[in-house]
């Protein structure tokens, strides 16, 4: 007699469908496995923490001058030494993280805001608008970046805020191009055509359908752009157009320190090192993100 235990085997359970991880989770997992990228991420977070908690961890007031302690080498009290007006270098490096991080992040935020908006307009509207925007973008990209930034910063006046605006505006053409290219690619996808056919308002299409798919390459470019924005702030400060005294920023600290390389090298070493580590980390993070987010990269 055949006794097939097909229907009443208590140990058989219906297979459960495992939920496919979304693209962001997949990317995060890939990033986790990337040693360089994670190192970059940790260091960046460390600097951000340093900037936020500056008032708590800084041993001295960064702008309080002390006439008796001018250009003293590192000691037990002043771990990084003092600068040309007797201010503690460690305190200025810690507080300077705010200026340098702000310079990096805010400039890129400005670039993103202007660049993505204009890029979307160009890609979406096409025709003469696109031509005009593309030619103008080409023109911006053809002029040396630093010259544009210098001219803008000089026009607005020397200050950290104006330097951020200058850098942000000068760096936006890249984002215009990137966004436009992405928009052109996605515009012809089926689901966008479908949304259009259904009668979705173009603005809604732009925001809910196109924008999310543009984000990945923008994130990568943004983190790389933050790195170069920090360097750009240092360059503008070198020319006297960035953060103004007595407020600290690593770039302006380097600018003053270059006159004392012989007599007080600690004034240049610490802010220089800080810039190097932060910018390197943003670069590593950006590379890691690119590996994680870009489907073409294995």
């Amino acid at each position: 007699m055949m006794n097939h235990a097909t229907t009443s085997n208590p140990t058989l359970t219906p297979p459960t469908l495992k939920k496919e991880p979304g693209p962001w989770l997949r990317a995060w997992r890939k990033l986790r496995r990337n040693r360089k990228g994670m190192f970059g991420l940790y260091v960046v977070l460390l600097f951000i923490a340093m900037a936020i908690f500056a008032p708590l961890i800084s041993p001295f007031d960064p702008i309080e001058a002390s006439w008796s302690a001018i250009r003293k080498a590192p000691t037990g009290t002043h771990w990084f030494g003092t600068d040309e007006l007797g201010r503690d270098v460690l305190a200025r490096v810690i507080w300077g993280a705010r200026a340098s991080l702000l310079a990096g992040v805010v400039s890129v935020a400005i670039s993103l805001l202007t660049g993505v908006t204009i890029g979307m307009l160009a890609g979406f509207l096409g025709g003469t608008v696109d031509s005009l925007i593309s030619r103008a973008t080409d023109a911006f990209l053809a002029c040396p970046f630093l010259i544009l930034a210098i001219a803008l910063a000089a026009f607005l006046g020397p200050s950290l805020t104006n330097a951020m605006i200058a850098i942000g505006v000068s760096a936006s053409p890249i984002f215009v191009r990137l966004t436009r290219a992405q928009v052109l690619q996605i515009k012809v996808e089926d689901y966008v055509e479908a949304a259009r056919a259904v009668g979705c308002h173009p603005f809604r299409i732009a925001v809910s359908h196109i924008l999310p798919n543009v984000t990945a390459p923008l994130i990568v470019q943004a983190s790389l752009a933050i790195a170069s924005a920090v360097i750009a702030e240092a360059s503008l400060s070198f020319l006297g157009l960035g953060q103004q005294p007595p407020d600290p920023s690593w770039g302006s600290m380097l600018n003053t320190a270059k006159n004392f390389m012989d007599t007080a090298p600690w004034m240049a070493v610490w802010p220089g090192l800080a810039i190097f580590v932060l910018v390197l980390s943003f670069n590593l993070l950006g590379d890691g993100l690119r590996d994680a987010l870009d489907p073409k990269h294995r």
């Binding site: 990337n34 023109a139 053809a142 210098i150 001219a151 026009f155 220089g272 590593l284 294995r298």
Partner: protein, 313 residues
């Protein structure tokens, strides 16, 4: 192919017009009365009035633009308000210097980035990958003016191996010329090495994953031959063309490097001119640089098109 070239050439013209308008307005809108600055230590009312008349400073912006463009189209880029030298002469004097610096920098960048990119791709994920990446990124992560000053202190003042500044024409003395250019070229090349390395790495990775490489490996060829003889050759093409494009970045970075090393190229010329409100010089130099950059872009596009058999149907 030809139509592609012509079509691109045509779109060049409105771009150039935009460039001229962009740089003109950026200069002329700078705050401060240029007549006061140019009058220097002796601002007598007559001198100031004379400067204002000469530079048409009292005319409206579009009129001034008109004067300038009319001159440019006739080959007259004006003259430096500070030293009265014709801008065209200044540019021709400095062009060879800037070109030499840019080419040397590109060479150094390739020397750094190609091996770094290969190592990083072949040993992907490992310690060597991290090492090569960090090495290539160093240039991008240090402000080049700071690196420049450190190098001067080390090699010129401490060791006395290289001159601290100045420029000797290669036709006068090739050895002295290279001695004076090597540090600034290194500083500049370092900065673009990173992005070239990235391209090299991704290009290599792409080639290493291709079918023909698998075939070569299956055939039993050593890894070294596979990488260096087969994959590299194909991976190099896009990198070289992209390198040509980076010349644009080099012109931007050269600004501060030339300042620090006192190389009499465009970069230093522009910086001083911006701060001295010497409009004609900035406008003329940027126009020339931008035009060069745009033409380079065009040729790079064409070269990429022609060299990459996959794009040529």
């Amino acid at each position: 192919m030809f139509t592609f070239f012509v079509r691109r050439l045509v779109t060049l013209i409105p771009t150039l017009v935009f460039v001229s308008m962009l740089i003109f307005s950026l200069q002329q809108l700078l705050p401060g009365d240029p007549a006061l600055v140019l009058a220097g230590e002796d601002p007598s009312p007559e001198a100031i009035a004379h400067i204002r008349a000469k530079l048409h400073l009292d005319d409206p912006l579009p009129v001034r633009y008109g004067y300038w463009i009319a001159g440019v189209l006739q080959g007259d880029l004006g003259e430096s308000a500070r030293t009265h030298q014709p801008v065209l002469d200044l540019i021709l004097q400095k062009l060879p210097v800037t070109i030499e610096l840019a080419l040397l920098a590109l060479l150094i960048a390739l020397v750094i980035s190609i091996p770094a990119g290969i190592v990083s791709a072949v040993y992907k994920g490992g310690a060597l990958d991290t090492g090569a990446t960090v090495f290539a990124l160093t240039g991008l992560s240090t402000p080049n003016f700071w690196l420049g000053i450190m190098l001067i202190l080390l090699f010129s003042v401490e060791l006395g191996w290289l001159p601290a500044s100045g420029y000797v024409s290669p036709f006068e003395n090739l050895r002295a010329n290279l001695a004076s250019m090597i540090m600034p070229a290194f500083v500049l090349g370092n900065a673009i090495a990173a992005s070239l390395m990235r391209h090299m790495r991704s290009s290599m990775l792409q080639e290493l994953g291709a079918d023909y490489v698998r075939t070569a490996r299956a055939k039993g060829l050593s890894e070294r031959v596979v990488v260096l003889k087969h994959a590299l050759r194909n991976a190099l093409t896009p990198v070289i063309t992209l390198g040509a494009l980076e010349l644009g970045t080099l012109l931007s970075g050269a600004v501060l490097t030339e300042q620090v090393f006192t190389i009499p190229g465009f970069g230093k010329l522009i910086i001083d001119a911006v701060f001295n409100r010497d409009y004609a010089v900035v406008q003329g130099v940027v126009l020339v640089t931008a035009t060069t950059y745009i033409m380079l872009n065009l040729f790079a596009d064409m070269a990429y098109f022609m060299l990459n058999p996959r794009l040529r149907k």
